[in-house]
């Protein structure tokens, strides 16, 4: 039911790929699909329009007409324009070159993730850049908001400004910078209350805070699942405060993240970081080319390679890739995969990074693909005999009962595992087929550490 942008675009591009030449009508048809897909991905309508116009301009030109493989060419153009509109290649760093204490102001709508991100950012700056960071909550609005930041500070082992009841946000902000100066902090992160872009009173308040603290960075924290309103919010905050960067939270969800494109288009400010979980270390750099790849269904191959080389032992990866390439693997391989996955993150995350895999993802029950489930599944497989692992077809009721008892699980769970194994081997077969067609060209190969990603 839920069809991602990747699916849509691969469908269009599959058709394009099959044609020898490309004319205006083809481009038009493809762009109608691209438009629809972008809208479904929550890219704001005005942004979709200018994006489509930019692609059209470039596509219906000599570039495409003379191209050898027009379909490929259009894909490349869409991808290129998307990367450009997302900010061009590479991550943009925080600009913290100012005399200490450098203020960072966190702003955004209610519930967008400002407080959590403040904690994450503090941890990151302390750990990676060896900065002395002070956290300060100016949120006098939401119940227990100041306490929330203080507790986050505690778990990140980053000091936070002592809470004084009854102070206004501006007073707290001044006190924070004062403490920063006095106690020799490099950076003071100012977390603010969530506010609506149309709430004039609260927008004026945050303007006053900005004026009082002169932050080096004013970061707009936005939920990745934001819809069309992204443009209103981005515009209002940018006009009021002059946003210097955007942080996109909840990228660990399954929203397509069209808001990234909208926000960037409206503010011109770079997306600097993304939140990928609730824990304090779940903050990553934003790489436009990766997100464009994710949006276009080309897959976040770069991210995959990076993560894979961090976590997978080369040898094991090669063995696995070889098995997968052969298109058949047994429960032992499945168990080996489970171990890999436990190290790399969720399988959906991994598959999501593979070119074309999005298409297949819809067919797997994602709720059953999860690390904790995998641990139990590991136990189930460990309770099987060698023969059973090689030829799961022989597993009938009595064997299943024995295995369930042996692994402390239930027959249902054993069945579920077997079903999942079936699905996965089926999927791997399909992935291989796609591979031959070219869609997967870089997918599994890219699993091998050290190989250069295709784009």
């Amino acid at each position: 039911m839920f069809e991602g942008l990747s699916d849509k675009l691969s469908a269009v591009f599959d058709r394009l790929r099959q044609r020898g030449t490309l004319n205006e009508a083809d481009v038009g048809e493809a762009l109608r699909e691209v438009r629809l897909a972008l809208l479904e991905a929550d890219v704001a309508l005005p942004v979709v329009k200018s994006f489509i116009a930019a692609v059209r301009d470039r596509a219906i030109g000599a570039e495409v007409i003379r191209a050898v493989a027009p379909g490929q060419q259009v894909i490349k153009i869409v991808n290129d324009v998307l990367i450009e509109h997302l900010g061009g290649e590479g991550a943009v760093k925080l600009a913290l070159n100012a005399p200490p204490p450098v203020a960072i102001l966190m702003v955004g709508l209610q519930g967008s993730g400002k407080t959590t991100t403040s904690g994450k950012l503090a941890l990151r700056l302390v750990k990676r850049e060896k900065k002395r960071v002070l956290l300060a909550s100016l949120d006098t609005q939401r119940p227990a908001a100041q306490l929330q930041l203080a507790q986050l500070g505690q778990s990140a082992q980053v000091p936070s400004l002592p809470i004084v009841a009854g102070e206004t946000p501006t007073v707290i902000a001044r006190r924070a910078l004062e403490a920063g100066r006095r106690e020799g902090f490099d950076i003071v992160i100012l977390d603010t209350a969530g506010r609506l872009a149309i709430d004039e009173e609260l927008m004026a308040e945050v303007q006053a805070i900005r004026a009082a603290t002169n932050p080096a960075e004013t970061l707009l924290v936005v939920d990745a699942m934001t819809g069309q309103d992204a443009v209103n919010t981005a515009r209002a905050f940018n006009e009021a405060l002059g946003i210097t960067g955007i942080i996109l939270t909840r990228m660990d969800g399954d929203a397509r993240g069209g808001a990234a494109l909208s926000m960037r288009a409206v503010t011109g400010a770079p997306i600097k970081l993304v939140g990928v979980g609730e824990k304090l270390d779940a903050l990553e750099e934003f790489h436009p080319e990766r997100v464009a790849g994710r949006i276009l269904g080309l897959g976040d191959v770069v991210g995959l390679v990076e993560r894979a080389s961090e976590t997978i032992e080369q040898e094991e990866a090669e063995k696995l890739a070889a098995k997968i390439a052969k298109g058949r693997f047994d429960l032992d391989d499945y168990a080996a995969q489970l171990r890999q996955i436990n190290r790399m993150g969720s399988i959906s995350g991994i598959l999501g990074m593979l070119p074309g895999a999005n298409k297949l993802m819809g067919k797997i029950d994602e709720s059953k693909l999860d690390k904790t489930v995998f641990k139990r599944q590991g136990a189930i497989i460990a309770s099987m005999t060698r023969i059973e692992r090689r030829t799961p077809e022989i597993l009938k009721a009595s064997r299943k009962k024995r295995i369930a008892a042996g692994s402390g699980t239930t027959v249902q769970e054993v069945n579920r595992l077997l079903k999942q194994f079936d699905e996965m081997s089926g999927m791997i077969k399909r992935m291989n087929k796609l591979g031959q067609k070219g869609l997967m060209r870089h997918g599994i190969g890219a699993l091998m550490p050290g190989r250069r990603p295709p784009f």
Binding site: A41, L45, A144, Q148, Q228, D229, S367
Partner: protein, 308 residues
């Protein structure tokens, strides 16, 4: 809760509709409803987050009856609102605790930051004002200061809050909460939960566990499972509803933050797809900022219709 709700909802929605109002005015001041005009109307619905598919369906139905007519702006808005209200009317159903249950157990779920805890505070106030005695369970044992946040809400609205030590098992706490609510004769038990993304199956399993454990005491509990949606959310809301419904049998929706510039048009697609009741909408951060979901007022808001 029902008193003068249309005017109060209108007040909450007024600002959010200004943009679309001016858009429509610009587009449709006295003109023929031709393909171009209809396409522009469709665009306006898309900017209200209906999503391209739902916007197309609404406009297609609209086209059948109105195509080619010479219309004024007011007429076009009125009839478009009616078209949308007809989709929404069946799902506009308030939530009334069933007195047969002592307590009526309400489990509140949703992705992170949508307004679950705040909505619990608001519901507790509304029910207290209706003469019921609500009790709250601080079931978000994960997020920093989530317990304290609900405790403050409990003080504000005069409802006892059941808490456990940090990182307690939410299911165990819910169980204890239900036991206490039964012992003390509470009418409603509102259980807060930690926000969770629907694509994290381990976290969704946790919610199922809460339900399993509640059923050990009361096989019919929870009597309501409310999914709280943020109006700012785009098309991902559809996936949220699909998964939460599948995993925890959501019985109704509450849409928050409608006091902002987001119009929450995805509710139209949700009504078409899932037909789950929409019980109420949040229009502010204060305890009193909860309104019943009224189909015609909401539809009017979506198309930017000013109505007396």
């Amino acid at each position: 809760m029902a008193l003068g709700f249309i005017s109060r909802l209108k007040e909450g929605l007024a600002r959010s509709t200004q943009k679309l109002t001016s858009g429509l005015a610009g587009v449709l001041t006295r003109r023929k409803l031709d393909d171009e005009a209809l396409a522009e109307l469709e665009d306006l619905l898309i900017t209200a987050d209906l999503g391209p598919a739902a916007a197309r369906r609404v406009i297609a139905a609209f086209r059948r009856t109105r195509f080619g007519r010479e219309v004024s702006e007011a007429e076009v808005k009125e009839s478009l609102a009616q078209e949308i209200a007809a989709i929404l009317a069946p799902v506009a159903r308030p939530l009334t605790p069933d007195p047969a249950h002592k307590p009526h157990v309400v489990l509140v779920v949703g992705v992170n930051g949508t307004g679950k805890t705040t909505t619990i505070g608001k519901l507790a106030l509304a029910w207290r004002e209706a003469g019921l005695s609500p009790m709250l369970v601080a079931g978000d044992t994960f997020r920093a200061a989530a317990v304290e946040q609900l405790q403050i809400w409990g003080e504000r609205v005069g409802a006892p809050v059941i808490t456990g030590p940090a990182n307690t098992d939410a299911a165990g706490l819910a169980f204890d909460g239900l036991a206490r609510a039964r012992a003390e004769g509470a009418d409603v038990l509102l259980i807060d939960t930690a926000g969770r993304l629907h694509n994290k199956s381990a976290l969704m399993e946790e919610l199922r566990k809460i339900i399993r454990v509640l059923r050990k005491q009361d096989a019919t509990a929870p009597h309501s499972v409310l999914l709280v949606l943020d109006a700012t959310t785009g098309q991902n809301a559809i996936e949220q509803v699909r998964v939460f419904k599948e995993m925890v049998d959501v019985t109704g929706l509450i849409v928050t933050k409608l006091d902002g510039s987001a119009r929450g048009g995805v509710v139209v697609a949700l009504a078409e797809t899932f037909a789950l009741p929409v019980h109420a909408v949040g229009v502010g951060e204060q305890a009193g900022d909860l309104r019943p979901f009224a189909a015609s007022a909401f539809a009017a808001g979506l198309v930017g219709l000013e109505r007396a």
